[in-house]
């Protein structure tokens, strides 16, 4: 479904990604863990071309999409993304946040878009908040609207960039619940998170990144249960401690 081959990215002299390869098949959940600054976010942003990789290929269903022949807007339509800081459009209601992409990107008629947007809000349990503005919602509610906004475009894969890191502890669960439900429904997902419970319970694959490279990869049991490298062992002890 989604594959990344030999991705390199430099920000000026900084070599942020040093040759990343990964593959996610349909319906699979990949969790990426690693210390901050290890390149996890940049990797996600390379996959939906918010950041252009300097070397390497991003493949969606076998098609190389980081190519001048393909419009990045078209690629991003196929990929939903959820950000750490929600990034809801502050001047639009929850409903308008979800329907904006439908009317402007998919050119859906307004009524149809509204209907679908309401359905997506219902899926994340926020049908009653349709006319609320982001500033009137809690962090957890905002993040669920952001998930609905991404889902509305019917993406082939969903990227989550530390979706619960900016949340107060009491709201983390409502967001994780939505993500677990999505995984159960068979959504293909790539998730950067430090939520070990989610990673152990939902992930099919786990990748540990450090300094722009994949240090270890495997099933959650392999990566968390039997870490092979010192770097991963010390990382696990830090996030569990």
């Amino acid at each position: 479904m989604i594959a990344v081959r030999g991705i390199h990215k430099w920000f000026g002299p900084l070599h942020v990604l040093r040759g990343i390869d990964l593959e996610v098949t349909k319906g699979e959940v990949l969790v990426i863990v690693g210390p901050s600054g290890s390149g996890k976010s940049t990797l996600l942003r390379c996959i939906n071309l918010l950041v252009q990789p300097d070397e390497g290929d991003v493949l969606i269903e076998g098609v190389k999409v980081n190519s001048p022949k393909i419009r990045p807007e078209w690629v991003r339509q196929q990929i939903g993304m959820v950000f750490q800081s929600f990034n809801l459009f502050t001047h639009l209601t929850a409903l308008q946040n979800v329907s904006l992409g439908l009317t402007k990107v998919k050119k859906m008629p307004a009524q149809e878009a509204e209907k679908l947007a309401r359905y997506e809000l219902e899926r994340v349990g926020l049908a009653d908040k349709a006319s609320s503005y982001p500033a009137q919602l809690s962090g957890g509610q905002q993040q669920r609207v952001a998930i609905a906004r991404a889902l509305a475009l019917n993406p082939k894969v969903m990227l989550f960039d530390e979706p619960t890191s900016a949340l107060d502890p009491e709201f983390i669960h409502e967001v994780l619940d939505v993500m677990v439900k999505l995984a159960e429904e068979g959504m293909t997902m790539i998730v950067v998170t430090h939520e070990m419970g989610f990673a152990k319970g939902v992930a099919d694959q786990v990748i540990f990144m450090d300094a722009g490279q994949i240090v270890e990869a495997g099933t959650p049991a392999e990566v968390f249960g039997a870490p092979k490298t010192e770097r991963l062992r010390s990382f696990i002890s830090k996030i569990l401690g």
Partner: protein, 281 residues
């Protein structure tokens, strides 16, 4: 007629409420002027006898405002946008524009623009044959110069507004597949517009009063009429009438400025995002 949640009657349109408040301020000022007149400080009949001069001045000033605000805004908006461009050329042109016009005293700009226009027309037979009213044309050019002066301030307001839209909003817009143009149209513009409104209102109020400077190059605006009446009155040596002239002129400027600033505040309220009030303070 609509009612709010507590059942209070609301005027149908927020602007109406604001106009009522503005009118209240105007009436209060008038009442004070009138009261001072009844004390015998000045002759209120003087205003009636010279009402046509005040009216013509006000009318002229209104036409100046009708040009200076839109021209200044278009200039400010375009160059403000240019200031945030990723491309070198529009950015440097806009920066040069802002720095030049911001550094000029408006009076100097107006006199300079008027004089240079007259010079250019006089030295250029092609223009001289086509422009009948050189004086009027010079005033128009001075007005454009004043608009550009105001535009340089507005450009900075617009730039600050654009820059204050967080990077995350651009990311989110791109992530749902909006093009750059769509992102500007549906995400950046509506947000920067809300952020910039109060400062723009300030600048509009300021440039309205700056139009009075055009009287030095022969615009027959409100200030000119005031000066004209004052010089006629001064011959008779009546300080009370002199005071009254400037009270009336000040009052008319007050009404015009209030109308514009209140209208902008009305727009601000109309587009206020619920829940964001605290952040906008």
């Amino acid at each position: 007629m609509t009612n709010d949640k507590r059942g209070r009657i609301l005027l149908p349109w927020p602007f109406v409420r604001r106009i009522v408040i503005t009118a209240g301020i105007g009436v209060t000022v008038l009442a004070i002027v009138y009261f001072l007149g009844t004390l015998g400080l000045y002759d209120l009949g003087f205003v009636r006898r010279n009402s046509s001069a005040f009216l013509h001045g006000a009318e002229y000033t209104l036409s100046l405002i009708a040009i200076v605000i839109p021209v200044g805004f278009v200039a400010g908006f375009s160059f403000g946008w240019g200031r945030t461009s990723h491309r070198w050329l529009p950015r440097s042109v806009s920066t040069a524009y802002v720095e030049f016009f911001r550094s000029m005293p408006p009076l100097v700009l107006i006199v300079f623009a008027g004089l240079i226009t007259i010079l250019v027309v006089a030295k250029n037979p092609f223009l001289a044959a086509r422009i009948e009213d050189v004086g009027g044309f010079a005033i128009l050019m001075s007005l454009v110069a004043l608009s550009l002066h105001s535009g340089s301030y507005q450009a900075e307001i617009i730039r600050a507004g654009i820059n204050s839209v967080p990077a995350g909003q651009h990311d989110a817009a791109a992530a749902i597949g909006l093009t750059r143009g769509q992102t500007v149209r549906y995400v950046v513009l509506p947000q920067m517009f809300r952020i910039s409104l109060p400062a723009l209102g300030n600048e509009f109020a300021s440039v309205i009063k700056d139009t009075s400077l055009l009287s030095v190059i022969g615009a027959v605006d409100l200030t000119f009429q005031g000066k004209n009446l004052a010089s006629l009155t001064a011959l008779q040596g009546d300080i009370g009438d002199l005071t009254l002239i400037w009270l009336v002129v000040a009052f008319i400027y007050l009404v015009m400025t209030l109308f514009v600033s209140r209208t902008l505040q009305g727009i601000e309220r109309r587009y206020r995002v619920p829940g964001l009030e605290a952040a906008q303070l």
